[in-house]
């Protein structure tokens, strides 16, 4: 059986969630590996959310927010960007491939872009193979 990754995606309520919604209502097809969690702002995405996702068995994590300058809370997406770079480094140190995490900007009218992004992300994670964090952590349980 082909490997079907689980990708947890955190979408901001204002732009990206509406963008993903547009992809759906416009009947676009995209990889069903994406599991959407709606957050009010990409700035709400605590780094522990991402780590917890991997810990619970996610193979990839996708964070989407408003384009720079569009944030409804003015600078939430910039805060997210800062944490993202930190997380990437941290993941590498912990032995997790940083490519499993991706941050992208999706506006509410970019349904098509979201569908493409989802497909690309699913492809990347498929090529990386399953993430073993959950199994390896079970030793400690």
């Amino acid at each position: 059986m082909e490997f079907e990754p689980k990708i947890v995606s955190f979408l901001c309520n204002w732009c990206s969630y509406t963008g993903a919604d547009l992809a759906g209502t416009s009947r676009m097809k995209y990889a069903s590996n994406i599991r959407v969690v709606r957050v009010m702002c990409s700035g709400r995405v605590d780094p522990t959310f991402v780590l917890k996702s991997f810990r619970e068995g996610a193979d990839g994590v996708l964070i989407c927010g408003c384009h720079p300058g569009d944030c409804h809370y003015h600078e939430g997406n910039y805060k997210c960007l800062r944490r993202y770079h930190f997380l990437k480094k941290y993941m590498a140190q912990m032995g997790l491939n940083p490519d499993r995490l991706k941050l992208a900007w999706i506006s509410a009218s970019e349904g098509k872009e979201f569908a493409q992004l989802a497909d690309e992300m699913a492809e990347t994670i498929k090529s990386l193979g399953p993430c073993k964090v959950k199994e390896e952590m079970e030793i400690f349980d």
Binding site: T18, S107, S109, E110
Partner: protein, 596 residues
């Protein structure tokens, strides 16, 4: 008691449009000695008036007209020159077009009466107010109507929101970005639309129109014409099987005609309510009795092809009118060749072309033709390299509209920026008369655009024509003192805003006033900006006059504040046109006798 024969009334000019009676009326008071017209005096020579004041022994002057303030300094100086108190003058504003007999004439009469008798009009016209029905009606679900509805509903008041088309959202839903922040318009609007759709205090009536309004402030009965969608909102699951099979193709209103839609359709993917509509005017079954394939393929049998329109009545206390605008028909300006040359676009079409959810997914391409000869845009076509934007098409032009549409300069700058973002090597030029970047952050935006390598040329464009398969644009360049003849690939016409098609009809049924252009008239442009001559009827958004999104939102909130105010007080003030002359006369006499 005012001395007899001690006053003069000066009219700014001869009265017209039903107000002629005022001239005679003013002269009939025993207190009034003379009725003059400002046109008989020379504004530069105060002696012309002061001699007349002395000759006739006038003590006080009443100035009446469309904008009496213009005469204030002249009259005041003349009074002083004649040795009278320069402050003994009263201004009476008499403006507005009469829609039906007598409604405002009596108000103007009452204003003159008060001025002559030295009583404040506000005192004499102050009525206790009517009981108010808490339910509110909002007409038009564009951004102003949505904002007003949400504000009122969030205060716990029931709102009925009526929208003419099949979805709420209005023009803003069609836009790609808002200026000057370049926020994505959908990111701001769609969450609000969803909120309206789900709000427990908002009843949404889409595909409906107001036919008639009767009653008085606080208790209006509104007849609503509910066009049938022919699709049951409750059972439709939005699967889209009907649209796939529908054989009819018509230009999509939402995409400003840049794509085609079917006769059974959803206006756009994020529509609220997100259910199908069968457009009876274009459906072969409804028109000719043949087809009906949509009803056959519908898996939940929610299409009722023979459904009929209905008229319902609702009772409300306050009404907010937010019906918006229509864009200027660019075909009227023949010299720009819109409709003749496929790559001359209106700004609304170009807006859709720029939109990531538009016909081409956001890439700027040449217009091509489909099998039936309709002009459409296809994502894989070539991109233009030279784009010109022409400002003030149908605005600030005596042949079409003399008013400034307020948004065109800014949206043209925004479009120029977006073109540069998508096609960095494109040659973008703008032709403007005056750059009106008046709002907060707008001038800064203009300065920023100037640095992006866009050719911003001051001068009116004379003509767009086709030569050897290329569009040639002829314009003047005032600052460069020369005439320009330039080859371009695509021309975008920045069309202005006009009152909506039905606005006159609606004004008649609401019995409110419109100005000369057709915008709904506010009571007072400085402190009663959303009130109309009728109590409990408020205006918001572009239907009151051209404005941009921030201003429309602000006005929507302002109208909501008036509604909430009346509901909290359980009283709604009567409007000017609800007052009767006799009541005011009695009140004036009462006030005079208590004074003595």
């Amino acid at each position: 008691m005012v001395k007899q024969n001690s006053r003069a009334v000066i009219f700014q000019e001869r009265m017209n449009s039903g107000l002629e009676k005022l001239e005679q009326f003013a002269g009939e008071f025993p207190e009034v000695k003379e009725v003059w017209f400002a046109t008989d005096f020379s504004m530069k020579d105060k002696k012309s008036l002061s001699t007349r004041i002395k000759e006739n022994g006038v003590e006080k002057i009443i100035v009446a007209g469309r904008s009496p303030g213009e005469l204030k300094s002249f009259v005041s100086a003349s009074l002083a020159d004649a040795g009278k108190n320069p402050e003994d003058l009263t201004l009476v504003s008499v403006n507005g077009t009469i829609l039906s007999d007598g409604d405002l004439l009596s108000v103007f009469k009452a204003k003159i009466l008060c001025a002559v008798k030295d009583v404040h009009f506000e005192l004499a016209s102050d009525s206790p107010g009517n009981e108010v029905n808490k339910k509110t009606l909002v007409i038009g679900a564009g951004i102003a109507g949505i904002q007003a509805s949400l504000e009122i509903a969030n205060a716990g008041i029931d709102v009925t929101l009526i929208e003419k088309t099949g979805t709420i959202g209005g023009h803003m839903a069609m836009f790609d970005k808002t200026f000057p922040t370049l926020d994505c318009a959908a990111c701001i609007l769609t969450p609000k639309m969803v909120e309206v759709g789900q709000h427990q205090n908002i009843e949404l009536l889409t595909y409906s129109e107001v036919l008639d309004v009767s009653g008085e402030a606080g208790d209006y009965t509104v007849k609503v014409f509910k066009k049938t969608r022919r699709v049951d909102l409750a059972t439709c699951i939005g699967c889209g099987d009907c649209t796939e099979k529908c054989p009819v193709n018509v230009p999509s209103e939402f995409d400003a005609g840049t794509t085609m839609r079917k006769a059974i359709y959803i206006p756009f993917p994020q529509a609220v309510p997100n259910k199908y509509i069968l457009d009876g005017d274009n459906c072969t079954y409804v028109q000719k009795g043949k087809c009906g394939v949509c009803a056959k393929v519908c898996p939940v049998e929610c299409i009722y092809l023979d459904d009929k329109d209905e008229t319902i009545e609702i009772k409300v206390g306050n009404i907010v009118v937010a019906t918006g605008f229509k864009t200027f028909d660019a075909e009227k300006v023949e010299r720009f060749g819109y409709g003749k040359y496929p790559n001359v676009l209106t700004s609304l079409e170009f807006e859709r072309l720029l939109n990531a959810a538009g016909p081409t997914g956001g890439s700027i391409v040449f217009r091509s033709k489909d099998k039936k000869g309709n002009g459409i845009f296809e994502a894989n076509s070539d991109s233009p390299e030279r784009i010109a934007l022409i400002h003030c098409v149908g605005s600030r032009d005596e042949n079409y509209n003399t008013h400034c549409s307020r948004v065109c300069c800014m949206y043209s700058l925004k479009m120029a920026h977006l073109v540069k973002e998508k096609l960095p090597d494109a040659d973008v030029s703008e032709y403007y008369i005056d750059m009106r970047s008046f709002g907060k952050g707008y001038e800064e935006f203009y300065e920023r655009i100037k640095k992006e390598g866009i050719d911003i040329i001051r001068g009116r464009t004379a003509k767009v024509e086709e030569k050897n398969g290329n569009l040639v644009l002829r314009s003047e360049d005032i600052e460069g003192m020369k005439l320009i003849e330039k080859e371009v690939d695509m021309v975008v016409l920045s069309v202005g805003l006009e009152p909506g098609e039905d606005s006159q009809k609606l004004a008649k049924s609401l019995n409110i006033l419109t100005d000369d252009i057709g915008w709904f008239a506010e009571l007072n442009s400085t402190n009663q900006t959303v009130n109309t001559v009728r109590g409990g009827i408020f205006v918001a958004g572009v239907c009151q006059g051209p404005k941009d999104i921030p201003d429309s939102v602000a006005q929507g909130s302002a109208a909501a504040a008036r509604v909430i105010q009346s509901v909290i007080n359980s009283k709604v003030k009567k409007g000017l046109s609800d007052l009767s002359y006799n009541d005011i006369e009695t009140k004036v006499n009462e006030l005079i006798s208590t004074e003595e």
